[in-house]
Protein backbone atom coordinates (compact mmCIF):
# COMPACT_ATOMS: atom_id res chain seq x y z
CA UNK A 1 0.00 0.00 0.00
CA UNK A 2 2.74 2.38 0.97
CA UNK A 3 4.90 1.61 -2.02
CA UNK A 4 2.63 2.83 -4.81
CA UNK A 5 1.93 6.08 -2.94
CA UNK A 6 5.62 6.79 -2.50
CA UNK A 7 6.12 5.99 -6.13
CA UNK A 8 3.38 8.32 -7.22
CA UNK A 9 4.69 11.28 -5.18
CA UNK A 10 8.23 10.85 -6.45
CA UNK A 11 6.99 10.89 -9.99
CA UNK A 12 4.92 14.05 -9.44
CA UNK A 13 7.97 15.67 -7.86
CA UNK A 14 10.07 14.60 -10.81
CA UNK A 15 7.48 15.93 -13.21
CA UNK A 16 7.28 19.20 -11.33
CA UNK A 17 11.05 19.55 -11.36
CA UNK A 18 11.12 18.75 -15.02
CA UNK A 19 8.52 21.36 -15.83
CA UNK A 20 10.58 24.00 -14.06
CA UNK A 21 13.35 23.82 -16.65
CA UNK A 22 14.79 26.03 -18.04
CA UNK A 23 12.81 28.91 -16.70
CA UNK A 24 12.70 27.32 -13.22
CA UNK A 25 16.46 26.81 -13.15
CA UNK A 26 17.06 30.55 -13.57
CA UNK A 27 14.56 31.25 -10.83
CA UNK A 28 16.27 28.76 -8.52
CA UNK A 29 19.63 30.46 -9.10
CA UNK A 30 18.10 33.86 -8.50
CA UNK A 31 16.52 32.57 -5.29
CA UNK A 32 19.89 31.18 -4.11
CA UNK A 33 21.51 34.56 -4.53
CA UNK A 34 18.60 36.27 -2.81
CA UNK A 35 19.21 34.05 0.21
CA UNK A 36 22.82 35.21 0.31
CA UNK A 37 22.21 38.83 -0.62
CA UNK A 38 22.32 40.38 2.89
CA UNK A 39 25.53 38.57 3.82
CA UNK A 40 27.21 39.19 0.48
CA UNK A 41 26.41 42.90 0.65
CA UNK A 42 27.81 43.27 4.16
CA UNK A 43 30.89 41.19 3.39
CA UNK A 44 31.54 43.00 0.13
CA UNK A 45 30.98 46.53 1.38
CA UNK A 46 32.39 46.30 4.92
CA UNK A 47 35.15 43.69 4.52
CA UNK A 48 36.53 43.38 0.99
CA UNK A 49 36.10 46.96 -0.19
CA UNK A 50 37.91 48.36 2.90
CA UNK A 51 40.93 46.18 2.12
CA UNK A 52 41.23 47.86 -1.27
CA UNK A 53 40.64 51.20 0.39
CA UNK A 54 43.44 50.92 2.95
CA UNK A 55 45.86 50.16 0.10
CA UNK A 56 44.52 53.17 -1.80
CA UNK A 57 44.63 55.48 1.23
CA UNK A 58 48.16 54.36 2.05
CA UNK A 59 49.34 55.65 -1.32
CA UNK A 60 47.96 59.13 -0.64
CA UNK A 61 48.52 61.93 1.74
CA UNK A 62 45.03 61.47 3.07
CA UNK A 63 43.61 63.38 5.98
CA UNK A 64 40.08 62.67 7.07
CA UNK A 65 39.49 66.38 7.57
CA UNK A 66 41.03 67.64 4.29
CA UNK A 67 39.19 67.64 0.96
CA UNK A 68 42.29 67.21 -1.18
CA UNK A 69 44.20 63.93 -1.04
CA UNK A 70 47.35 64.12 -3.21
CA UNK A 71 48.94 60.89 -4.45
CA UNK A 72 52.32 60.34 -2.81
CA UNK A 73 53.32 56.87 -4.01
CA UNK A 74 55.32 54.98 -1.44
CA UNK A 75 56.03 58.04 0.72
CA UNK A 76 53.94 56.78 3.62
CA UNK A 77 55.80 53.48 3.57
CA UNK A 78 59.15 55.27 3.44
CA UNK A 79 58.09 57.43 6.38
CA UNK A 80 56.97 54.32 8.25
CA UNK A 81 60.30 52.61 7.65
CA UNK A 82 62.02 55.56 9.35
CA UNK A 83 59.43 55.94 12.10
CA UNK A 84 61.04 54.82 15.33
CA UNK A 85 57.66 54.96 17.03
CA UNK A 86 56.32 52.36 14.58
CA UNK A 87 59.33 50.07 15.15
CA UNK A 88 58.94 50.53 18.88
CA UNK A 89 55.28 49.55 18.64
CA UNK A 90 56.09 46.52 16.52
CA UNK A 91 58.71 45.60 19.11
CA UNK A 92 56.14 45.98 21.93
CA UNK A 93 53.58 43.91 20.03
CA UNK A 94 56.16 41.16 19.51
CA UNK A 95 57.20 41.32 23.17
CA UNK A 96 53.57 41.05 24.21
CA UNK A 97 53.15 38.02 21.93
CA UNK A 98 56.31 36.35 23.20
CA UNK A 99 55.30 37.05 26.79
CA UNK A 100 51.70 35.93 26.53
CA UNK A 101 51.43 33.14 23.96
CA UNK A 102 53.80 30.49 25.42
CA UNK A 103 52.40 30.99 28.93
CA UNK A 104 48.78 30.93 27.82
CA UNK A 105 49.33 27.72 25.83
CA UNK A 106 51.64 25.80 28.19
CA UNK A 107 49.92 26.71 31.44
CA UNK A 108 46.44 25.43 30.49
CA UNK A 109 47.86 22.19 29.04
CA UNK A 110 48.48 20.31 32.33
CA UNK A 111 45.27 21.85 33.70
CA UNK A 112 43.27 20.50 30.78
CA UNK A 113 44.90 17.07 31.22
CA UNK A 114 44.01 17.13 34.93
CA UNK A 115 40.45 18.24 34.27
CA UNK A 116 39.96 15.46 31.76
CA UNK A 117 40.13 12.91 34.59
CA UNK A 118 37.15 12.15 36.80
CA UNK A 119 37.77 14.67 39.52
CA UNK A 120 35.53 16.00 42.23
CA UNK A 121 34.75 19.65 41.56
CA UNK A 122 35.78 19.42 37.92
CA UNK A 123 32.81 21.52 36.78
CA UNK A 124 33.69 24.20 39.33
CA UNK A 125 37.30 24.46 38.19
CA UNK A 126 36.37 24.51 34.55
CA UNK A 127 33.84 27.30 35.13
CA UNK A 128 36.21 29.28 37.35
CA UNK A 129 39.07 29.20 34.87
CA UNK A 130 36.75 30.21 32.08
CA UNK A 131 35.28 33.31 33.76
CA UNK A 132 37.93 35.74 32.40
CA UNK A 133 37.15 34.61 28.86
CA UNK A 134 33.48 35.51 29.32
CA UNK A 135 34.04 38.93 30.87
CA UNK A 136 34.94 42.11 29.06
CA UNK A 137 38.64 42.80 28.60
CA UNK A 138 37.98 46.53 28.92
CA UNK A 139 36.02 46.32 32.16
CA UNK A 140 38.34 43.83 33.80
CA UNK A 141 41.32 45.94 32.75
CA UNK A 142 39.84 48.75 34.88
CA UNK A 143 39.74 46.34 37.81
CA UNK A 144 43.34 45.29 37.17
CA UNK A 145 44.53 48.91 37.00
CA UNK A 146 43.08 49.57 40.44
CA UNK A 147 44.59 46.36 41.81
CA UNK A 148 47.97 47.43 40.49
CA UNK A 149 47.84 50.92 42.07
CA UNK A 150 51.03 51.35 44.10
CA UNK A 151 49.54 52.74 47.33
CA UNK A 152 46.01 51.42 47.70
CA UNK A 153 46.11 48.57 45.16
CA UNK A 154 45.70 45.25 46.90
CA UNK A 155 48.00 43.39 44.53
CA UNK A 156 50.83 45.80 45.24
CA UNK A 157 50.14 45.31 48.94
CA UNK A 158 50.42 41.53 48.63
CA UNK A 159 53.63 41.82 46.64
CA UNK A 160 54.97 44.12 49.34
CA UNK A 161 54.14 41.51 51.98
CA UNK A 162 56.14 39.03 49.91
CA UNK A 163 59.07 41.52 50.04
CA UNK A 164 58.79 42.22 46.34
CA UNK A 165 59.88 45.77 45.49
CA UNK A 166 56.70 47.64 44.61
CA UNK A 167 56.78 50.04 41.69
CA UNK A 168 54.15 52.27 40.19
CA UNK A 169 53.60 49.46 37.71
CA UNK A 170 51.53 51.19 35.07
CA UNK A 171 53.56 54.40 35.16
CA UNK A 172 56.94 52.71 35.03
CA UNK A 173 58.22 52.17 31.47
CA UNK A 174 59.93 48.92 32.41
CA UNK A 175 56.93 47.47 34.28
CA UNK A 176 53.87 48.67 32.34
CA UNK A 177 54.14 46.16 29.48
CA UNK A 178 54.79 43.15 31.74
CA UNK A 179 51.76 44.22 33.82
CA UNK A 180 49.58 44.21 30.69
CA UNK A 181 51.06 40.85 29.66
CA UNK A 182 49.98 39.45 33.02
CA UNK A 183 46.42 40.58 32.33
CA UNK A 184 46.70 39.10 28.82
CA UNK A 185 47.72 35.71 30.19
CA UNK A 186 44.96 35.86 32.81
CA UNK A 187 42.42 36.58 30.08
CA UNK A 188 43.57 33.91 27.59
CA UNK A 189 44.14 30.87 29.83
CA UNK A 190 40.52 29.77 30.17
CA UNK A 191 39.72 30.04 26.49
CA UNK A 192 42.76 27.98 25.51
CA UNK A 193 42.03 25.46 28.25
CA UNK A 194 38.56 24.77 26.89
CA UNK A 195 39.91 24.19 23.38
CA UNK A 196 42.70 21.95 24.67
CA UNK A 197 40.23 20.03 26.82
CA UNK A 198 38.02 19.45 23.78
CA UNK A 199 41.09 18.23 21.91
CA UNK A 200 42.02 15.83 24.70
CA UNK A 201 38.48 14.50 24.89
CA UNK A 202 38.75 13.73 21.18
CA UNK A 203 41.61 11.26 21.79
CA UNK A 204 40.17 7.72 21.73
CA UNK A 205 40.13 6.09 25.18
CA UNK A 206 41.40 2.83 23.67
CA UNK A 207 44.91 4.29 23.25
CA UNK A 208 45.14 4.92 26.96
CA UNK A 209 43.72 1.49 27.77
CA UNK A 210 46.30 -0.16 25.54
CA UNK A 211 49.07 1.89 27.18
CA UNK A 212 47.82 0.86 30.59
CA UNK A 213 47.98 -2.80 29.58
CA UNK A 214 51.58 -2.24 28.50
CA UNK A 215 52.28 -0.71 31.89
CA UNK A 216 53.02 2.83 30.69
CA UNK A 217 53.28 5.42 33.46
CA UNK A 218 51.14 8.56 33.62
CA UNK A 219 54.07 10.63 32.42
CA UNK A 220 54.75 8.25 29.54
CA UNK A 221 51.10 8.30 28.54
CA UNK A 222 51.16 12.09 28.48
CA UNK A 223 54.29 12.31 26.33
CA UNK A 224 53.61 9.31 24.09
CA UNK A 225 49.85 9.65 23.53
CA UNK A 226 48.34 12.94 24.67
CA UNK A 227 51.03 15.30 23.39
CA UNK A 228 51.50 13.84 19.87
CA UNK A 229 47.76 13.44 19.28
CA UNK A 230 47.10 16.92 20.62
CA UNK A 231 49.57 18.51 18.22
CA UNK A 232 46.93 19.94 15.83
CA UNK A 233 44.99 21.44 18.73
CA UNK A 234 48.16 22.87 20.28
CA UNK A 235 49.14 24.45 16.97
CA UNK A 236 45.66 25.86 16.52
CA UNK A 237 45.69 27.38 20.00
CA UNK A 238 49.17 28.80 19.45
CA UNK A 239 48.36 30.43 16.13
CA UNK A 240 45.00 31.86 17.25
CA UNK A 241 46.66 33.23 20.41
CA UNK A 242 49.36 34.80 18.25
CA UNK A 243 46.81 36.39 15.95
CA UNK A 244 44.92 37.76 18.97
CA UNK A 245 48.17 39.08 20.46
CA UNK A 246 49.05 40.96 17.32
CA UNK A 247 45.67 42.68 17.51
CA UNK A 248 45.95 43.61 21.18
CA UNK A 249 44.22 46.87 22.01
CA UNK A 250 41.69 46.80 24.88
CA UNK A 251 43.92 46.44 27.97
CA UNK A 252 46.45 48.90 26.57
CA UNK A 253 43.80 51.50 25.85
CA UNK A 254 42.30 51.14 29.33
CA UNK A 255 45.37 50.64 31.49
CA UNK A 256 48.05 52.89 29.99
CA UNK A 257 46.79 54.44 26.76
CA UNK A 258 50.10 53.33 25.22
CA UNK A 259 52.30 55.12 27.75
CA UNK A 260 54.45 55.71 29.66
CA UNK A 261 56.87 56.90 26.98
CA UNK A 262 55.14 54.68 24.36
CA UNK A 263 56.39 51.65 26.27
CA UNK A 264 53.07 49.83 25.89
CA UNK A 265 51.94 51.20 22.54
CA UNK A 266 51.07 48.43 20.07
CA UNK A 267 50.36 48.38 16.34
CA UNK A 268 46.60 48.67 16.84
CA UNK A 269 46.82 51.47 19.40
CA UNK A 270 49.06 53.33 16.94
CA UNK A 271 46.49 52.82 14.17
CA UNK A 272 43.82 54.11 16.55
CA UNK A 273 45.95 57.14 17.47
CA UNK A 274 46.81 58.07 13.88
CA UNK A 275 43.38 57.26 12.45
CA UNK A 276 41.00 58.49 15.11
CA UNK A 277 42.90 61.02 17.17
CA UNK A 278 45.05 62.70 14.50
CA UNK A 279 42.67 61.73 11.65
CA UNK A 280 45.68 60.94 9.44
CA UNK A 281 43.82 58.32 7.40
CA UNK A 282 46.69 57.78 4.96
CA UNK A 283 49.35 57.01 7.54
CA UNK A 284 47.00 54.95 9.72
CA UNK A 285 46.06 52.91 6.63
CA UNK A 286 49.74 52.32 5.92
CA UNK A 287 50.15 50.78 9.38
CA UNK A 288 46.94 48.81 8.82
CA UNK A 289 48.38 47.40 5.57
CA UNK A 290 51.45 46.18 7.44
CA UNK A 291 49.26 44.63 10.13
CA UNK A 292 47.22 42.93 7.41
CA UNK A 293 50.39 41.48 5.87
CA UNK A 294 51.39 40.08 9.27
CA UNK A 295 47.92 38.54 9.63
CA UNK A 296 48.17 36.99 6.17
CA UNK A 297 51.53 35.42 7.02
CA UNK A 298 50.21 34.04 10.32
CA UNK A 299 47.10 32.61 8.65
CA UNK A 300 49.18 31.12 5.85
CA UNK A 301 51.34 29.43 8.47
CA UNK A 302 48.19 28.14 10.12
CA UNK A 303 46.80 26.74 6.87
CA UNK A 304 50.16 25.25 5.92
CA UNK A 305 50.45 23.56 9.28
CA UNK A 306 47.00 22.04 8.95
CA UNK A 307 47.67 20.84 5.44
CA UNK A 308 50.71 18.98 6.80
CA UNK A 309 48.53 17.52 9.50
CA UNK A 310 46.11 16.13 6.97
CA UNK A 311 48.83 14.60 4.86
CA UNK A 312 50.25 12.80 7.88
Amino acid sequence: MAMPIAHASVSTAARRRGSLRPHGRARAILASYLFMLPSLLVIGVFMFWPILQIVWFSLHQWSFIATDHPYVGADNYRQLANDSRFWGDLHNTLLFTVGVVPASVLLPLPVAVALNRPLRGRAFFRAAYFLPAVSSYAVMAIVWSLLLQPDIGLLSRYLQLLHFPVADWLHDPSWALPAIMLVGIWKTIGFNMVILLTGIQGIPETYYEAAQVDGASTVARFFRITLPLLRPTLLFVTVTSMIASFQIFDPVFVMTGGGPLFSTETLVTYIYHEGFQLFDTGYASTIACILFLIMLVLTAVQLQVFRFQEED
Binding site: S9, V10, T12, A13, A28, I29, S32, Y33, F35, M36, P38, S39, L40, V42, I43, V45, F46, F48, P50, I51, Q53, I54, F64, V111, G121, F125, A128, Y129, F130, L131, P132, A133, V134, S135, S136, Y137, A138, V139, M140, I142, V143, L146, L147, D151, I152, L154, R157, G190, V194, T198, V237, I243, V254, G257, V268, G275, A284, A288, L291, M295
Partner: protein
Protein backbone atom coordinates in the same frame (compact mmCIF):
# COMPACT_ATOMS: atom_id res chain seq x y z
CA UNK B 1 66.08 -4.69 59.56
CA UNK B 2 66.06 -5.75 55.95
CA UNK B 3 62.40 -6.66 56.31
CA UNK B 4 61.42 -3.36 57.85
CA UNK B 5 61.94 -1.25 54.78
CA UNK B 6 59.56 -2.98 52.41
CA UNK B 7 57.00 -3.15 55.20
CA UNK B 8 57.12 0.60 55.80
CA UNK B 9 56.87 1.17 52.10
CA UNK B 10 53.89 -1.13 51.95
CA UNK B 11 52.25 0.89 54.68
CA UNK B 12 52.76 4.15 52.83
CA UNK B 13 52.11 2.91 49.36
CA UNK B 14 48.30 3.36 49.37
CA UNK B 15 48.77 6.99 50.37
CA UNK B 16 51.02 7.89 47.45
CA UNK B 17 48.20 8.39 44.94
CA UNK B 18 46.31 10.32 47.60
CA UNK B 19 49.26 12.62 48.15
CA UNK B 20 49.39 13.11 44.40
CA UNK B 21 45.69 13.95 44.34
CA UNK B 22 46.12 16.37 47.24
CA UNK B 23 48.94 18.20 45.44
CA UNK B 24 46.83 18.30 42.29
CA UNK B 25 43.94 19.80 44.22
CA UNK B 26 46.21 22.35 45.86
CA UNK B 27 47.47 23.45 42.46
CA UNK B 28 44.00 23.58 40.95
CA UNK B 29 42.63 25.54 43.90
CA UNK B 30 45.63 27.87 43.82
CA UNK B 31 45.06 28.60 40.15
CA UNK B 32 41.34 29.15 40.77
CA UNK B 33 42.15 31.64 43.54
CA UNK B 34 44.52 33.59 41.27
CA UNK B 35 42.04 33.63 38.39
CA UNK B 36 39.03 34.54 40.51
CA UNK B 37 40.87 37.12 42.59
CA UNK B 38 40.04 40.18 40.42
CA UNK B 39 36.35 39.21 40.38
CA UNK B 40 36.23 38.70 44.14
CA UNK B 41 38.06 41.96 44.76
CA UNK B 42 35.76 43.82 42.35
CA UNK B 43 32.61 42.64 44.13
CA UNK B 44 34.02 43.12 47.64
CA UNK B 45 35.25 46.62 46.81
CA UNK B 46 31.84 47.57 45.44
CA UNK B 47 30.45 46.74 48.90
CA UNK B 48 32.88 48.98 50.79
CA UNK B 49 32.39 52.46 52.18
CA UNK B 50 34.81 55.20 51.09
CA UNK B 51 36.78 55.42 54.35
CA UNK B 52 37.35 51.69 54.15
CA UNK B 53 38.79 51.92 50.65
CA UNK B 54 41.15 54.76 51.47
CA UNK B 55 42.40 53.02 54.61
CA UNK B 56 46.04 51.94 54.56
CA UNK B 57 47.01 49.18 54.28
CA UNK B 58 44.30 48.03 51.86
CA UNK B 59 42.26 45.02 52.86
CA UNK B 60 40.37 42.48 50.80
CA UNK B 61 37.26 42.24 52.96
CA UNK B 62 35.09 45.25 53.80
CA UNK B 63 34.96 46.28 57.46
CA UNK B 64 31.40 47.34 56.87
CA UNK B 65 29.23 45.98 54.08
CA UNK B 66 27.29 48.67 52.27
CA UNK B 67 25.13 48.71 49.15
CA UNK B 68 25.47 52.48 48.89
CA UNK B 69 27.64 52.28 45.75
CA UNK B 70 24.94 50.32 43.95
CA UNK B 71 22.45 53.07 44.76
CA UNK B 72 24.84 55.86 43.74
CA UNK B 73 26.29 54.40 40.56
CA UNK B 74 23.13 55.10 38.52
CA UNK B 75 23.45 58.84 39.23
CA UNK B 76 27.22 59.09 38.96
CA UNK B 77 27.44 57.28 35.63
CA UNK B 78 24.86 57.19 32.82
CA UNK B 79 24.81 53.46 33.45
CA UNK B 80 21.25 52.89 32.31
CA UNK B 81 22.06 54.46 28.93
CA UNK B 82 25.21 52.34 28.63
CA UNK B 83 23.17 49.25 29.43
CA UNK B 84 20.51 50.07 26.86
CA UNK B 85 23.17 50.68 24.20
CA UNK B 86 24.98 47.44 24.99
CA UNK B 87 21.77 45.43 24.87
CA UNK B 88 20.61 46.97 21.58
CA UNK B 89 24.06 46.76 19.98
CA UNK B 90 25.01 43.25 21.10
CA UNK B 91 21.45 41.93 20.76
CA UNK B 92 21.01 43.60 17.38
CA UNK B 93 24.25 42.20 15.95
CA UNK B 94 23.34 38.76 17.28
CA UNK B 95 19.85 38.74 15.76
CA UNK B 96 20.97 40.19 12.43
CA UNK B 97 23.85 37.72 12.22
CA UNK B 98 21.68 34.73 12.98
CA UNK B 99 19.32 35.69 10.14
CA UNK B 100 21.99 36.58 7.56
CA UNK B 101 24.38 33.77 8.49
CA UNK B 102 21.72 31.07 8.44
CA UNK B 103 20.23 32.22 5.12
CA UNK B 104 23.65 32.18 3.48
CA UNK B 105 24.65 28.94 5.16
CA UNK B 106 21.45 27.34 3.89
CA UNK B 107 22.15 28.41 0.33
CA UNK B 108 25.72 27.11 0.55
CA UNK B 109 24.75 23.82 2.15
CA UNK B 110 21.64 22.98 0.19
CA UNK B 111 21.12 24.96 -3.00
CA UNK B 112 22.84 24.33 -6.27
CA UNK B 113 23.93 27.43 -8.14
CA UNK B 114 26.88 28.52 -10.26
CA UNK B 115 29.67 30.15 -8.27
CA UNK B 116 28.93 28.34 -5.04
CA UNK B 117 32.52 27.24 -4.40
CA UNK B 118 33.92 30.66 -5.28
CA UNK B 119 31.52 32.40 -2.92
CA UNK B 120 32.26 29.95 -0.14
CA UNK B 121 36.00 30.45 -0.51
CA UNK B 122 35.61 34.24 -0.62
CA UNK B 123 33.53 34.17 2.56
CA UNK B 124 36.13 32.01 4.28
CA UNK B 125 38.85 34.41 3.13
CA UNK B 126 37.29 37.17 5.24
CA UNK B 127 38.35 35.20 8.31
CA UNK B 128 41.80 36.60 7.56
CA UNK B 129 40.57 40.19 7.68
CA UNK B 130 40.50 41.45 11.27
CA UNK B 131 38.36 44.45 12.14
CA UNK B 132 41.47 46.33 13.33
CA UNK B 133 42.72 46.39 9.73
CA UNK B 134 39.52 47.62 8.08
CA UNK B 135 38.20 49.92 10.78
CA UNK B 136 39.49 53.15 9.21
CA UNK B 137 37.67 52.85 5.87
CA UNK B 138 34.60 51.38 7.60
CA UNK B 139 34.54 54.38 9.93
CA UNK B 140 34.70 56.72 6.93
CA UNK B 141 31.86 54.86 5.19
CA UNK B 142 29.73 54.87 8.33
CA UNK B 143 30.45 58.60 8.66
CA UNK B 144 29.36 59.32 5.08
CA UNK B 145 26.23 57.22 5.53
CA UNK B 146 25.37 59.48 8.47
CA UNK B 147 25.46 56.44 10.73
CA UNK B 148 27.95 57.62 13.36
CA UNK B 149 26.30 57.47 16.78
CA UNK B 150 23.44 55.35 15.49
CA UNK B 151 22.52 51.75 16.14
CA UNK B 152 22.58 51.18 12.37
CA UNK B 153 26.25 52.16 12.31
CA UNK B 154 27.02 49.85 15.21
CA UNK B 155 25.04 46.89 13.87
CA UNK B 156 24.83 46.81 10.05
CA UNK B 157 28.56 46.46 9.22
CA UNK B 158 28.64 43.50 11.62
CA UNK B 159 25.37 41.91 10.47
CA UNK B 160 27.10 38.85 9.12
CA UNK B 161 30.19 36.91 9.93
CA UNK B 162 32.24 34.34 8.04
CA UNK B 163 32.65 32.14 11.07
CA UNK B 164 28.90 32.01 11.68
CA UNK B 165 28.20 31.14 8.05
CA UNK B 166 30.88 28.47 8.08
CA UNK B 167 29.72 26.94 11.34
CA UNK B 168 26.05 26.83 10.33
CA UNK B 169 26.88 25.46 6.88
CA UNK B 170 28.79 22.59 8.47
CA UNK B 171 25.86 21.95 10.77
CA UNK B 172 23.23 22.14 8.03
CA UNK B 173 25.19 19.56 6.02
CA UNK B 174 24.54 17.06 8.81
CA UNK B 175 20.76 17.47 8.54
CA UNK B 176 19.56 14.50 6.41
CA UNK B 177 18.62 15.53 2.87
CA UNK B 178 15.72 13.09 2.89
CA UNK B 179 13.90 15.57 5.12
CA UNK B 180 14.18 18.29 2.46
CA UNK B 181 12.94 15.92 -0.19
CA UNK B 182 9.99 14.84 1.90
CA UNK B 183 9.10 18.48 2.54
CA UNK B 184 9.48 19.35 -1.13
CA UNK B 185 7.12 16.54 -2.03
CA UNK B 186 4.67 17.99 0.45
CA UNK B 187 4.82 21.24 -1.47
CA UNK B 188 7.39 23.15 0.57
CA UNK B 189 9.44 25.72 -1.37
CA UNK B 190 13.10 26.62 -0.70
CA UNK B 191 12.27 29.13 1.98
CA UNK B 192 9.83 26.72 3.59
CA UNK B 193 12.52 24.06 3.85
CA UNK B 194 14.89 26.60 5.43
CA UNK B 195 12.27 27.88 7.85
CA UNK B 196 10.37 24.72 8.74
CA UNK B 197 12.99 21.97 8.43
CA UNK B 198 16.54 23.27 8.70
CA UNK B 199 16.15 25.98 11.33
CA UNK B 200 14.06 23.97 13.84
CA UNK B 201 16.55 21.10 13.60
CA UNK B 202 19.50 23.44 14.21
CA UNK B 203 18.44 25.17 17.40
CA UNK B 204 21.50 24.04 19.38
CA UNK B 205 23.89 25.30 16.69
CA UNK B 206 21.95 28.57 16.48
CA UNK B 207 22.00 28.96 20.26
CA UNK B 208 25.75 28.34 20.35
CA UNK B 209 26.31 30.92 17.63
CA UNK B 210 24.00 33.39 19.37
CA UNK B 211 25.99 33.05 22.58
CA UNK B 212 29.26 33.62 20.69
CA UNK B 213 27.96 36.75 18.97
CA UNK B 214 26.42 38.11 22.14
CA UNK B 215 29.57 37.53 24.17
CA UNK B 216 31.88 38.99 21.54
CA UNK B 217 29.86 42.16 21.04
CA UNK B 218 28.87 42.70 24.66
CA UNK B 219 32.57 42.71 25.53
CA UNK B 220 33.94 44.52 22.49
CA UNK B 221 35.73 47.83 22.93
CA UNK B 222 37.42 49.05 19.74
CA UNK B 223 34.43 48.85 17.38
CA UNK B 224 31.89 50.77 19.51
CA UNK B 225 34.67 53.14 20.63
CA UNK B 226 35.22 54.20 17.02
CA UNK B 227 31.58 54.14 15.89
CA UNK B 228 30.26 56.28 18.74
CA UNK B 229 31.44 59.73 19.74
CA UNK B 230 28.62 60.74 22.06
CA UNK B 231 28.17 59.39 25.57
CA UNK B 232 24.49 58.80 24.91
CA UNK B 233 25.33 56.11 22.33
CA UNK B 234 28.22 54.40 24.11
CA UNK B 235 27.87 50.83 25.35
CA UNK B 236 29.12 49.74 28.79
CA UNK B 237 32.68 48.88 27.79
CA UNK B 238 33.31 52.21 26.06
CA UNK B 239 31.46 54.23 28.68
CA UNK B 240 33.33 52.73 31.61
CA UNK B 241 36.71 52.73 29.86
CA UNK B 242 36.57 56.36 28.74
CA UNK B 243 34.89 57.82 31.80
CA UNK B 244 37.44 56.36 34.18
CA UNK B 245 40.19 58.13 32.33
CA UNK B 246 38.48 61.51 32.53
CA UNK B 247 37.28 61.72 36.11
CA UNK B 248 38.21 60.47 39.50
CA UNK B 249 35.54 58.11 40.72
CA UNK B 250 35.13 56.49 44.08
CA UNK B 251 36.44 52.97 43.81
CA UNK B 252 33.22 51.55 45.24
CA UNK B 253 31.06 53.29 42.63
CA UNK B 254 33.38 52.31 39.81
CA UNK B 255 33.50 48.68 40.95
CA UNK B 256 29.73 48.61 41.35
CA UNK B 257 29.49 49.74 37.72
CA UNK B 258 32.05 47.15 36.63
CA UNK B 259 30.24 44.40 38.54
CA UNK B 260 26.92 45.31 36.95
CA UNK B 261 28.56 45.44 33.50
CA UNK B 262 30.07 41.94 33.63
CA UNK B 263 27.36 40.30 35.76
CA UNK B 264 24.78 39.57 33.01
CA UNK B 265 27.23 37.56 30.90
CA UNK B 266 28.75 35.80 33.91
CA UNK B 267 25.31 34.77 35.13
CA UNK B 268 24.30 33.67 31.65
CA UNK B 269 27.52 31.67 31.43
CA UNK B 270 26.93 29.98 34.78
CA UNK B 271 23.37 29.04 33.84
CA UNK B 272 23.92 27.87 30.25
CA UNK B 273 27.59 26.87 30.36
CA UNK B 274 27.08 24.21 27.73
CA UNK B 275 26.49 26.72 24.94
CA UNK B 276 29.46 28.85 25.91
CA UNK B 277 31.78 25.86 26.12
CA UNK B 278 30.39 24.47 22.86
CA UNK B 279 30.86 27.83 21.23
CA UNK B 280 34.50 27.95 22.22
CA UNK B 281 34.95 24.32 21.26
CA UNK B 282 33.63 24.90 17.73
CA UNK B 283 36.01 27.81 17.21
CA UNK B 284 38.69 25.18 17.75
CA UNK B 285 37.45 22.97 14.93
CA UNK B 286 39.88 23.08 12.07
CA UNK B 287 37.79 21.64 9.29
Amino acid sequence: MAMAQPRTWARWRPFVPRVGTAILYLLLIGLAVVILFPFVWMVLTSLKVESDIAAAPPRLFPRQVSLLAYAQVWDRLPLLTFFRNTVVFAGGVTLASLVCDSLTAYALARLDFPGRTVIFVLILATLMIPVQVTIIPVFIMVYHLGWLNTYAGLIVPRATNAFGIFMLRQFFLTVPRELDQAARIDGCNMFGIYWRIILPLSTSALATLAVLHLMYNWNDLLWPLVMTTSTSMEPLTVGLATLTGQHEYEYAVLMAGATLAVAPLLLAFLSIQRYFIQGIAVTGLKE
